[in-house]
């Protein structure tokens, strides 16, 4: 029973850590993109597109971690 509880704990802490990492990554990315489109508003469209793509890649890695957490929580 105790090991099941530890599994839930691991899933919770793991999800939190993964989200912190992903949030920091996407936050830095968004900050840089905002700055870039502020400096050069004429390329704002291109900056936005590459921001979304990079955000999707970061998000993908975060989801790997979250999928592992879900597997832990539902075992």
């Amino acid at each position: 029973m105790e090991s099941v509880g530890l599994g839930y704990l691991a899933a919770g802490i793991g999800a939190a850590l993964a989200v912190i990492g992903g949030g920091l990554g996407i936050g830095k990315l968004a900050a840089a993109a905002m700055e870039a489109s502020g400096r050069q508003p004429e390329v704002a469209g291109q900056v936005r597109t590459s921001m979304i793509i990079a955000a999707a890649l970061i998000e993908g890695v975060t989801f790997f971690a979250l999928a592992i957490c879900i597997i832990l929580a539902t075992k």
Partner: protein, 307 residues
């Protein structure tokens, strides 16, 4: 995959299960979570306002040591529904557009999306060579978009919230990426590319890494779509589940408002994920099509428009 409409069903089921275990207040949280996850899973019945419709079941086929169950499940049914909707809507739109000079209504919508995919996704990543692959990108985009949207209507389920479905889509993307690379470079260059252009003494390290990197890209596509579609539904269901954990009308207001907000966010995510899947497939295909060496590849990818 459970939609907010489906949540009504979940709510009834959860209420029943809570009535049963009313004495054990401590287990309520676990019950709610279990019930919620049950509604995210694939099933053998379609949920409708008039009760459950059972889908046909087949005896598993034995091939070698594997037993393959070809039964039609909820997600398979919604996969077919999505395919049928795409087929009908796009055919109707194209017929209408052919009849008049300026598209209106449905034809206008489909044309806007198709032009967007050509000008914003395919041409920047693949150049004019990419026009040959337009049918694939258009099909992928419209199919994923429809399948995602079906999860947001009451009693619907999004087939893309099933990892097997997204794995199938990613497998098709993998074949298309490799086929595009081989057609553009020729088989010899394609194989030479796997060595990474380094000294032959490093090949034992380089070749496995390059082969692995061929597979990680579609794998990431698969997990991304699946996790995005699942995550939104889990959040909505968890918010609704709070009502049953706290059992209070006062508490009920906040989860309903928040889940409406998440639902609207989901509407955005659904379109975004269809876009992301298509644009990343195009990007990977474009990377595979260019050049022999890594040097040139990184250089080219900085200027994807010069093709």
């Amino acid at each position: 995959m459970t939609s907010p409409g489906d949540t009504l069903v979940a709510v009834h089921a959860t209420a029943d299960s809570l009535q049963g275990s009313g004495a054990h207040g401590g287990e309520a949280g676990g019950n709610v979570f279990g019930e919620l996850l049950h509604h995210l899973e694939d099933g053998n019945a379609l949920e409708t306002p008039f009760g459950h419709i059972s889908l046909p079941q087949f005896v598993p086929v034995q091939i070698g040591g594997l037993s393959i169950d070809m039964s039609i499940t909820k997600h398979v049914a919604f996969l077919w529904i999505a395919a049928a909707i795409v087929l009908v809507v796009v055919t109707v739109a194209v017929r209408r557009n052919a009849r008049r000079d300026v598209p209106t209504g449905l034809g206008n919508l489909v044309e806007t999306l198709a032009v967007f995919i050509r000008d914003q996704i395919v041409l920047p990543n693949l150049g004019t060579r990419g026009i040959a692959y337009m049918p694939y990108f258009l099909t992928t985009f419209f199919f994923i978009l429809t399948a995602n949207l079906l999860g947001l209507i009451p009693y619907g389920a999004s087939a893309t919230g099933n990892v097997s479905v997204t794995a199938g889509l990613a497998a098709v993307a993998f074949v298309m990426i490799q086929a595009g690379a081989i057609r553009a470079q020729g088989l010899g260059h394609y194989l030479a590319h796997l060595t990474g252009g380094v000294h032959w003494a490093l090949w034992p390290i380089m070749i496995p890494i390059e082969i692995l990197s061929l597979f990680t890209k579609p794998f990431a596509l698969c997990i991304r779509l699946f996790a995005n579609m699942t995550a939104g539904h889990v959040v909505i269901l968890s918010l609704i589940g709070l009502i049953f954990i706290f059992r209070s009308y006062l508490i009920a207001v906040a989860p309903v408002v928040f889940s409406l907000g998440i639902y609207l966010l989901e509407l955005f995510v659904v379109v975004l994920q269809a876009y992301i899947f298509t644009v990343l497939t195009a990007m990977f295909m474009g990377l595979g099509m260019q050049s022999e060496g890594h040097e040139e590849r990184t250089h080219d990818s900085d200027h994807p428009h010069h093709q």
